[in-house]
């Protein structure tokens, strides 16, 4: 067949059921992204004879004799299309994974569609920006500032990868072609709880192109957690690469490694698995009740860090100071309420996945969509009993994380398959796999009790939390502990009590998610504060002003934290409340609603520690190059969080130069040092601090050298 792509003619013929998206990528056009692969998200948008289409739902054979424009071909002769420039000026992107499709769509809109941008862009999902900066790009607004030498800090500077992002040239995880590549597909459990009695691989291995079928028999026996933290003791060891027991619908049972995704899929369909189906518990309250099926029987607090496996309790926290019950009994106003929060998926546009290969020197290379390359390497070293220097884990640009990639969901299987086959391997999750088999926000049931005296001073605060961690305990404890911490420690109150339990259930595991437990509980706490204010006739701003911690006040949540590393860096909570109150007291926007609409406004606050507790580490290296520029090497990853911008700003400021003189290398264990990872703002507050220290040392060194 003949197809014209960006002005060049190709003669390749697609498979009969192949979609245009994968055909274009096979021909090297990596700017065409996979978000949903179902025609909804628009990341794969291309122009077909000048008209924008979602290439994932266009049969490739229909492009015969037609002209396709991908993002790589939008600007004439490698130049920049005006809309690409507009997206750069407005910085209309964060992770940038949607940007190619967004720009191609925006470039095709007529004036009427531009007037109703929300409607015109409903087929383009941006998970990061909230569309405001995209609207700015369409309005021709600039969101970037200049900075003189030494003045970068605090300025709105553009993301260094921007020019590559808008041209579709920034390499994301899967935007790489490897020779002799094999593909992995996973067979997933149809049962919420079952023991695997046997797996018959024969029919799968007979599929042409299938190289290997990996099951629990091939997997190391070692238990670990998919959660990645600087300290391994934060999570229970309850997971295997491939287990002989499945604990949720969607858990991986076997991996088929084949020449093509099609052969790997066919291999999965031909696997015969014999299950002994076990009773399941899917409701957290029932799971911790007597008589419930035990999900992680035999695991202990001492060895596996599972609090009480017999009760399906993976982590818990109980404590009280003062006397909440008697304080509530004598309070002028009391409130009690129970709130439940639902399961939520991160929905990063780039799905989980990666590639792995063993190079000529025996080094295991893993390139994945991760927030934590160094911690993945450490985990792989433990699981596969390999020295750290025989493993390299790295990421290029990552298409969104939101906490969902502070986990190891693919790298273990990639390593296992690369070692087993000796070939480069690739595993790219489908959107469905993202939903059924990665992680979610922890659903929680939160009961709050609160009391206040007549002046609105809090007398008692009590939280009773039941968190559903799903089938595995990744992030179960830390999320739970965080959930019952800052949301109440931001208030002074003499009597506080906490009972918190994280329960195993036979459902998809929950994990790290932006806010890390706080959004679930702060809603309950803030609702209680509001209700107390209402009962007492006190303004909701005022009741908060009276109760918030002031500089120097101890920030307390029971039982007293084992960490003593939280202190006031600066204090602005009082000003924050004033600013919000002032903004809300100015004229309210006219929504044009009829009188039968009830319109209200409300206020809530919370506090979040700037860095996760218990010690996090990052190395930065900076060198002065012969050409007078600087080379900055950091471990932290870029997935739209903006740390690449921040690190250059920090270094340029310390070195009294401009950011264009700082070239950044990042997120690759081969570059040396260590990095905790990019979560809980550690990329800025931990790694950024390292960059600051390194740059200041270098600046001192240069000054000394100049003086000598």
């Amino acid at each position: 067949m003949s197809i014209e792509i960006n002005g060049r003619t190709f003669a390749e013929t697609p498979g009969p059921g192949q979609c245009l998206r994968t055909f274009l990528r096979e021909l090297g056009h990596f700017g065409v992204k996979k978000g949903c692969d179902a025609g909804d998200c628009g990341a794969c948008t291309v122009l077909l004879d000048g008209e924008p289409v979602h290439s994932c739902v266009i049969p490739a054979f229909r492009a015969e004799g037609r002209a396709v424009t991908t993002i790589e071909g939008l600007g004439s002769e490698g130049g920049t299309h005006p809309l690409q420039q507009a997206f750069l000026d407005a910085q209309g992107f964060q992770c940038g994974f949607c940007t190619a499709g967004m720009i191609l769509t925006c470039a095709s809109l007529n004036q009427a569609q531009r007037q109703e941008l929300g409607v015109a862009l409903k087929g383009n999902i941006c998970r990061c920006t909230g569309y405001r900066s995209i609207q700015d790009a369409m309005d021709g607004k600039s969101n970037i500032e200049d900075a003189a030498a030494g003045g970068a800090f605090g300025r709105s500077l553009p993301a260094p990868a921007g020019p590559l992002v808008v041209r579709g040239a920034a390499p994301y995880t899967f935007d790489i072609a490897l020779d002799r590549l094999l593909h992995i597909k996973l067979l997933r459990s149809p049962h919420p709880h079952a023991r695997i009695i046997g797996i018959d691989k024969a029919a799968a291995l007979a599929v042409p192109g299938v190289h290997a079928v990996l099951t629990h028999e091939d997997a190391p026996k070692i238990l670990f957690s998919t959660a990645r933290h600087e300290k391994d003791w934060m999570d229970p060891d309850d997971t295997r690469v491939l287990d002989d027991t499945v604990r949720f619908i969607g858990q991986k049972v076997a991996a088929v490694v084949a020449e093509t995704e099609a052969a790997a899929e066919e291999g999965c369909r031909r696997l015969k698995v014999d299950y002994d189906i076990l009773p399941a518990a899917t409701d957290p309250a029932l799971a911790i009740a007597p008589g419930a099926p035990v999900i992680h029987g035999g695991k202990t607090a001492e060895i596996h860090r599972v609090s009480d496996a017999a009760r399906n309790v993976v982590a818990e926290k109980h404590g009280e100071f003062g006397d909440v019950a008697s304080a509530l009994a004598s309070s002028a106003a009391i409130y009690e309420g129970t709130f439940t929060t639902q399961r939520v998926q991160h929905a990063a546009l780039e799905t989980h996945g990666g590639l792995a290969w063993i190079d000529a020197g025996g080094l295991l290379n893993v390139r994945s969509s991760t927030q934590v390359p160094f911690l993945i390497r450490r985990s792989l070293a433990q699981i596969f009993d390999r020295p750290l220097d025989q493993i390299r884990v790295f990421c290029d640009r990552v298409g969104g994380g939101f906490g969902g990639k502070q986990e190891m969901f693919v790298e273990d299987i990639l390593a296992l398959a690369a070692i087993a086959t000796g070939r480069p391997v690739k595993l790219e999750f489908t959107r469905e796999e993202q939903f059924i088999a990665t992680s979610t926000r922890h659903p929680m049931r939160v009961t709050v009790k609160a009391g206040a005296d007549k002046q609105g001073m809090l007398t008692a605060l009590q939280l009773d939390v039941l968190s559903d961690t799903g089938a595995y305990g990744n992030h179960a404890g830390p999320v739970l502990f965080h959930a019952v911490s800052e949301c109440i420690s931001v208030y002074n109150c003499p009597n506080k009590k906490v009972d918190a339990v994280a329960a195993y259930t036979n459902t998809v595991p929950a994990g790290a998610f932006r806010g890390y437990g706080l959004p679930q509980t702060l809603f309950a706490v803030e609702a209680a504060i509001d209700e107390l204010a209402r009962q007492l006739g006190i303004d909701p701003f005022e009741i908060r002003r009276r109760n918030i911690v002031k500089p120097g006040d101890a920030m307390l949540s029971p039982p007293p934290s084992q960490y003593h590393d939280v202190f006031y860096g600066s204090y602005g909570l009082d000003q924050c409340l004033d600013l919000v109150e002032r903004a809300m007291s100015t004229a309210r926007p006219d929504y044009g609603l009829s009188d039968d609409w009830l319109v209200g406004d409300g206020v809530a606050l919370t506090m979040i520690d700037t860095v996760p507790p218990a010690g996090h580490l990052s190395d930065s290296t900076i060198t002065l190059r012969d050409d007078g520029g600087f080379e900055l090497t950091v471990g932290t990853a870029e997935f739209g969080n903006g740390t690449s911008t921040v690190h250059r700003q920090i270094a340029a400021t310390a070195l009294a130069t401009t950011v264009d003189r700082i070239s950044l290398r990042q997120s690759d264990t081969a570059l040396g040092g260590h990095d905790t990872g990019a979560y809980g703002s550690a990329g800025t507050f931990v790694a950024g601090r390292a960059t600051q220290a390194a740059a200041e040392q270098l600046a001192d060194g240069i000054k000394l050298w100049l003086r000598s």
């Binding site: 009969p16 059921g17 692969d37 369909r269």
Partner: protein, 273 residues
């Protein structure tokens, strides 16, 4: 997404060339749904493109919409000035959950054959008394109103190997006064209720309820009913079990919206233009 089990694309040019229907076959029109989900039970797609059915034909009595007419082609149709119901076309096209980019490929016939409660081409064709022509696998054909063709959530009267050829809309229907109402739980979201009322020259009201119900429901009134008469007709003629239940709206809310939107339509049509 790639449909890796597909081994062959059949591309017939005439009805005589349509291959014998076998298990594992699927008709391929726009493909926007077919390629949006795994289809591991399929191994051959029969592409309807090369049949080259004219997308839209206006005759003395009918607007003939080929099943393969894209939503964008229908939306771009230049309508006669006396087709005062023509705004319904644009309104229904904009009631798609899908992006305008999908309209360029998605077909009218595909939307009707998907038979989702929120299928806006079902709403449009039902309200305008559209009639399906079905090519049977045995070579015969028959006609059936669109409103009767769709019988439930993702259920219709197509038998294995049957093919929807076209939808004929009487021009008389396009000359009726019409009022459109639609609501979703989210802005520009999937329709949770989509109602269309039309009034003919004799003052008879035809009210078509879609999206809130699992299949299109048509209510006819010889004259424009009063508020209460309309309400009780809806309550009597649409059993509670017919209201659709999914994440896009609960049945009680859908019924409430059906009653409310119907009354809005009635009041608007009660005013002389």
């Amino acid at each position: 997404m790639d449909l890796n089990t597909i081994r062959e694309i059949a591309r017939p040019h005439t009805r005589a060339q349509l291959p014998v229907w076998t298990a594992g076959d699927a008709w391929l029109a726009g493909g926007t749904w077919l390629f949006s989900e795994p289809q591991v039970h399929l191994n051959r797609l029969i592409d309807l493109t090369d049949l080259k059915w004219p997308a839209l034909i206006v005759s003395d009595n009918h607007l003939r919409i080929a099943a393969t007419c894209t939503v964008a082609q229908l939306d771009a149709l230049a309508c006669a000035p006396d087709w005062i119901a023509a705004p319904l076309i644009g309104q229904c096209c904009r009631a798609f959950l899908a992006s305008f980019k999908i309209w360029k490929t998605a077909t009218v016939g595909g939307n009707i054959c998907m038979s989702l409660p929120a299928g806006p081409m079902i709403s449009l064709a039902s309200a305008l008394d559209g009639v399906c022509t079905i090519w049977r696998a045995d070579g015969s054909e028959y006609q059936i109103p669109v409103a009767d063709f769709v019988v439930g959530n993702r259920r219709n009267l197509l038998a294995s190997g049957d093919l929807l050829r076209q939808i004929d809309i009487p021009l008389t229907a396009l000359r009726r006064r019409s009022v459109f109402r639609q609501i979703s739980l989210t802005p520009v979201g999937r329709s949770a209720a989509l109602l269309i009322g039309t009034l003919d020259g004799d003052g008879a009201l035809s009210l078509t309820v879609t999206a809130s119900t699992v299949r299109p429901i048509k209510l006819s009134f010889a004259d424009l009913p009063g508020r209460e008469a309309l309400r009780s007709a809806i309550l009597q003629q649409i059993p509670e079990a017919v209201y659709h239940a999914d994440v896009h709206g609960r049945p009680m809310w859908r019924r409430h919206m059906t009653l409310r939107l119907a009354e809005e339509i009635r009041s608007e049509l009660a005013i002389d233009p």
